[in-house]
């Protein structure tokens, strides 16, 4: 393993190198981000004005469904797996991931899964149209035939996630450089260790849910049919037992990224490291016992409503601990505001807004009003976009110079930041108002009184979409012709093993483990 990368396409198809695989994941996720984003653009274009202008309602439903599925499973999750592949071995001083061949398999399943899922758009009956949460009986009794392809795509995607997670856990637990105890691990490694555990715990639950659907649709079972003694609400329980940890699977690695960027540009060590670790673990634990807060309106006993309400609110405590720690890290630091830091600060502010609306929707009696309205859409986009996507973007700006030895164009990147920041808020802040005024989510058309804010929201969405194309341009330009950088510490305030390596990072690193004191 002393030599460099292989030549040609074979390098990417047969690679066992964690950096290559990380790169594959990142580009794949960006491609999916653009695909899911184009679905979002279609949605916002249709909602620009009331009435049906561009597409049919059936196709609108396919767009909302595919947008959610592609963004969650195709864009955000693989993006953070890509970062994990790139950074974890370098951060813990390992030569590679623990199981490099399986690592390659985990990645290459994804293009097959998403090709299958996306191809349903062109099949008879159209793509899945039951929302990304695929509630039964919409996804069983009333589903298009293509639901079967969706089910098996989810199956192999889940296999990919489980293998990827096993790899990450084995790497973190087994491959750390001598002297790197668990409580010396960088936060990004910690958040991924816990995320990987969550993934292994809940991906099989998702597999179980789609398997039950498969059986109900094709083999006459009655899991989700009350006529046979089953219960459609069972689907929601199973789905959200997966789905709630899933949102932390998405956001925990984002927390990890932010916990690196803020100290670097504040030139201070992370405030409250151990409380960050414990907060991450508590969030992960709580994520397993709050799932039915997504289901306050299905007719649960009052005791259940109360339990899930209070348990959910508990999550605000460890999450707030994290926010306070980030703020305390910045406090009296010698801060500078390069693009990664801008995205990180925007993350802290906007994610906190998303967290607050999260506490609002967690209040069971109030949720009767918020449920299935645009308020919920606004809430989770503040978490998913301003949380996960902003942090992923910050990570790319932060580590790209290290990866390829070239610096991005700072002023262009700042423009990109401000356009996405403004575009994002113009898109989603008005959706809070729309939801509170009673506009339901997932509707292709709406009443006239919602027109103004919808138009504003759509304009913001196009702005945000454009900013992502600019991001793509900046990244490609950096890789091809950015200003070369060669000092190991690309950022003067950065700490950690990855910054002791040469810039750009050699193909193989830490073939002999470094000593951590």
């Amino acid at each position: 393993m002393a030599h460099g990368p292989a030549k040609g396409i074979g390098r990417w198809l047969f690679t066992t190198n964690h950096k290559d695989i990380g790169t594959l994941y990142l580009w794949f996720s960006f491609a999916m981000f653009l695909l899911g984003g184009s679905f979002a653009m279609i949605i916002r274009a249709e909602l620009f004005e009331p009435g049906m202008q561009i597409i049919r309602p059936e196709f609108f439903n396919q767009m909302t469904t595919m947008h959610g599925l592609v963004m969650v499973f195709g864009a955000i999750m693989p993006a953070f797996v890509g970062l994990a592949n790139w950074m974890i071995p370098m951060m813990i001083g390992a030569p590679d991931m623990a199981l490099p061949r399986m690592n390659n398999l985990s990645f290459w399943i994804l293009p097959f899964a998403f090709a299958l899922m996306a191809s349903t758009l062109f099949m008879e009956g159209g793509a899945p149209n039951f929302g990304w949460t695929f509630y039964a009986p919409l996804s069983t009794t009333y589903a298009p035939d293509t639901v079967n392809f969706f089910i098996f795509a989810v199956h192999i995607m889940g296999a990919s996630s489980i293998m990827g997670s096993i790899n990450i856990i084995a790497t973190v637990l087994n491959m750390r450089a001598p002297g790197m105890t668990l409580m010396k691990m960088p936060m990004f490694v910690w958040t991924w260790l816990i995320t990987a555990f969550l993934l292994i715990a809940v991906m099989p639950v998702l597999a179980g849910a789609v398997t039950m659907m498969l059986m109900d649709i094709n083999f006459g079972t009655s899991f989700f049919d009350a006529a046979g003694g089953g219960d459609p609400v069972l689907f929601q329980h199973v789905f959200w037992f997966f789905g709630h940890p899933e949102v932390y699977i998405i956001i925990l690695p984002a927390f990890g990224v932010i916990s690196h960027i803020i100290p670097t540009f504040s030139r201070k060590p992370l405030f409250g490291y151990s409380s960050m670790v414990y907060a991450t673990a508590s969030i992960a634990f709580l994520s397993f016992i709050v799932w039915a807060h997504h289901m306050f309106l299905v007719g649960m006993p009052i005791g259940g409503e109360l339990y899930f309400m209070y348990a959910t609110m508990l999550i605000a405590i460890p999450t707030a601990a994290k926010v306070f720690n980030w703020i305390s890290t910045m406090f009296r630091g010698s801060m500078t505001f390069e693009t990664p830091m801008l995205f990180a600060i925007a993350f802290v502010i906007l994610f906190t807004i998303g967290g607050f609306t999260g506490v609002m929707v967690a209040i069971a009696p109030a949720d009767v009003q918020y449920h299935d309205s645009y308020f919920v859409v606004a809430h989770f986009h503040y978490v998913m976009v301003a949380g996960a996507v902003f942090s992923g973007t910050a990570a790319v700006y932060y580590w790209l110079p290290k990866w390829c030895g070239r610096m991005y164009d700072e002023s262009m990147a700042k423009v990109q930041f401000w356009v996405s920041f403004v575009g994002f808020n113009v898109t989603f802040f008005p959706q809070h108002f729309l939801g509170l005024a009673g506009m339901p989510r997932r509707y292709a058309d709406y009443a006239l009184q919602f027109s103004d804010w919808n138009m504003v929201s759509s304009i913001g969405a196009f702005m945000y979409g454009a900013s992502q194309l600019l991001f793509l341009f900046i990244v490609i330009r950096t890789i091809r012709s950015g200003t070369p950088v060669s000092e190991p510490k690309v950022w003067e305030g950065a700490e950690g093993l990855e910054w002791t390596l040469a810039t750009p990072v050699p193909y193989h690193t830490f073939s002999t483990p470094p000593e951590v004191k």
């Binding site: 087994n174 039950m212 009350a226």
Partner: protein, 302 residues
């Protein structure tokens, strides 16, 4: 960790992309097969995957025999297998959880308890919860026209007088015994006693096969004589899904142990190095524990 400086990072490999292609074909093929299309793609994918896995495991074994695997790398395999089994635990947890939910919450609500009062009065008037559920809500409302009919008979404990002709009891005995025999084999190889290892591992494989034959017998009996099928309402659904997935896992476990048995005959194992066998035996203990859960919650407490 300090002495292990040479972690074996394998060169480029063609295996993963073949495995991914196999899985892709399986997913596409299964999707078209279940909706009445051809099974060709599915079978092609399964073949590709099977050959790839064969080559992959052969390679891993070869690498290990060639001494390329450091103690640290072996720990990676240990973690890998451990977490894989944990994922399987969660998979079964879904189905056990669903059984719990249906029996203890959904059916009582359907019969009008608690929050289900109007559901019962308006939709399923006259339905009464019971387990095993012999009369589905559909039958109560639609009689003979019902789409979901309950089973004629169920698999529950038939009473003490019929104890010894009760198949699940024998299945339990067979599987429990196999857990002991695999442990004896484990102890034998730890003591470098290969003859004893081969004997007891062979017995374990045979017990696994016997279990599968008995299970098949039970299914045939259920379908032909008890009117109990996958479509027999929620009882048939949960019964066949839980025992079926368990049976599939026993099949997997038996194949895994059989391969270890063949490797044992080739002399692949010694007291120091027997991880392939150990991993398979953990898996076997896992399917055994699942069966105990099944025996209690699907057969006895019903």
């Amino acid at each position: 960790m300090s002495t292990e400086s040479s972690y074996h990072v394998p060169e480029q490999s063609r295996l993963p992309i073949f495995a991914a292609t196999g899985l892709g074909l399986i997913a596409y093929g299964a999707g078209s097969w279940v909706q009445g299309g051809s099974a060709m793609f599915f079978l092609a994918g399964a073949l590709v995957l099977a050959f790839t896995l064969y080559a992959w495991f052969s390679l891993v074994i070869k690498e290990n025999m060639a001494g390329m695997n450091s103690a640290q790398l072996k720990r990676s395999y240990v973690w890998g297998m451990g977490w894989f089994i944990f994922s399987e635990v969660m998979f079964f947890a879904v189905f056990f959880g669903s059984l719990y939910y249906v029996r203890n919450l959904a059916l009582p609500w359907l019969s009008g308890e608690g929050v289900g009062e109007s559901t019962n009065a308006l939709l399923w008037d006259g339905f009464e919860a019971a387990w095993p559920l012999m009369t589905t809500p559909d039958m109560v409302v639609n009689g003979e026209a019902a789409q979901f009919k309950g089973p004629d008979q169920n698999m529950s404990f038939p009473g003490w007088d019929k104890l010894f002709s009760w198949l699940p009891l024998w299945n339990t005995i067979v599987l429990m015994t196999s857990s002991f025999t695999v442990h004896i084999a484990h102890t034998a190889i730890k003591n470098n006693n290969r003859g004893k290892f081969n004997l007891w591992l062979g017995i374990t494989v045979a017990l696994g096969a016997i279990f599968l034959v008995l299970q098949a017998e039970e299914y045939i009996h259920a379908y032909q004589h008890m009117g109990l099928t996958l479509e027999s309402g929620i009882y048939g659904t949960t019964f066949f899904m839980l025992t079926g997935f368990h049976g599939a896992h026993v099949t997997m476990g038996t194949i895994m142990l059989l391969i270890q048995f063949l490797r044992g005959l080739k002399g692949h194992f010694n007291s120091e190095d027997q991880f392939g066998f150990e991993a398979a035996s953990w898996y076997w203990h896992f399917v055994d524990v699942v069966w105990v859960g099944l025996f209690i919650f699907v057969y006895v407490l019903a």
